[in-house]
Symmetry: C2
């Protein structure tokens, strides 16, 4: 990964990092990305699942997807992944903040054409979302693979921003009788809802009951 002006950290550079390990850790902890690109002078930001392999992100969708076809033209794009870890409640409105981990990755995407590489990338996306699932399910047929567009987004450069820890109040405010601290938040899985047509003898798989992102 390189470093040019677009990924330079301006605001609060102490929260930022260009370390590949830090960037990879955030990308691996999340599963929902927001991809931005401009088309006909209008920016679009589209939510999408993804998987990571080294400096590549895999994205997928319908072969008819407008977004994926536009991206395949080689448009510059930005993929952002954000994880919210906590609401930071200070004694003053001004010092309220959020604990989070976020990565902004710059690059461009191209469709993967070869069926074997497509299938591999789909497995990476699936395993990223829920490790263990892919080997349990019917793999894509040739027809299904054709109906699926898979894009490889090459990360040219990226930056991470991370905030952790308590609120930082003005010294004068510490005496105020206001609750201050962090309300940690995170994504939780709830009780699985079996499909109405599920065979009664099929148990909830272990990789699902231990799911955590």
């Amino acid at each position: 990964m390189t470093l040019t002006e677009r990924s330079e950290l301006h605001r609060l550079p102490n929260r930022g990092s260009h370390q590949p390990e830090t960037i990879h850790a955030v990308l691996d902890a999340g599963f929902l990305a927001h991809i931005g690109f401009q088309s006909n002078g209008q920016p679009f930001v589209v939510p999408t699942l993804y998987g990571r392999e080294e400096e590549r992100l895999y994205l997928h969708g319908s072969a008819a997807s407008r977004m994926l076809n536009e991206l395949d033209a080689g448009l510059p794009a930005c993929v952002t992944v954000t994880l919210v870890d906590g609401l930071v409640l200070a004694r003053s409105a001004f010092h309220h903040s959020m604990n989070y981990r976020s990565v902004m990755a710059f690059g461009s995407a191209r469709k993967i054409v070869e069926p074997e590489r497509k299938s591999h990338a789909l497995r990476v996306i699936s395993e990223h979302l829920m490790a263990g699932r892919w080997d349990d399910v019917r793999p894509p047929s040739e027809k299904e693979l054709k109906a699926t567009a898979v894009l490889e987004f090459s990360i040219e450069e990226a930056s991470a921003k991370i905030r952790t820890g308590p609120p930082l109040d003005d010294e004068d405010d510490y005496d105020l009788p206001v609750w201050a601290g962090v309300l940690p938040v995170g994504l939780e899985a709830r009780t699985p809802v079996p499909d109405a047509r599920l065979h009664s003898q099929v148990a909830v798989p272990r990789y699902m009951s231990s799911w955590k992102k």
Copy 2:
């Protein structure tokens, strides 16, 4: 709100809506947006908190923020809010999906200059994130207001996409001995972590213990 090509629903239009009530409900349920804009030929997607008032979203940040200053030039922008509700586990890899609610809003943003309107917009953002908090804390001083940029993003048009319900498998696949259904997921608050310098007599406020987004 108007309707032009940029917010037209192409893929799976049955999941989409242009109804203001649907769009408002998604915007009000979320609190983290990803805002996209292009600068020097490069798209950027930046996570940000927001508040809503009618067809306006309020965003804020440091007065020195590169993003907010660029947006204030009137660049076309896209604000996307996505809530993940569940992982949809089908019997085939191909029919895996996600239950979600998402809004893509198009428009542009301008800085709010008048201190009273700025302060009002900050209250809207704060109350959107945690209703009840604003009246509990020290309000922004004149100096703090000056150090804060607040933008008003006018929604010119928007669309919502929502998927709910079980997986939809191919008829032939229903006999496969694979667990299928939905793993509901959602953001949860965990145990509050009081600041080390919190006065011992200050209790956790009710608006925080009942926090839900």
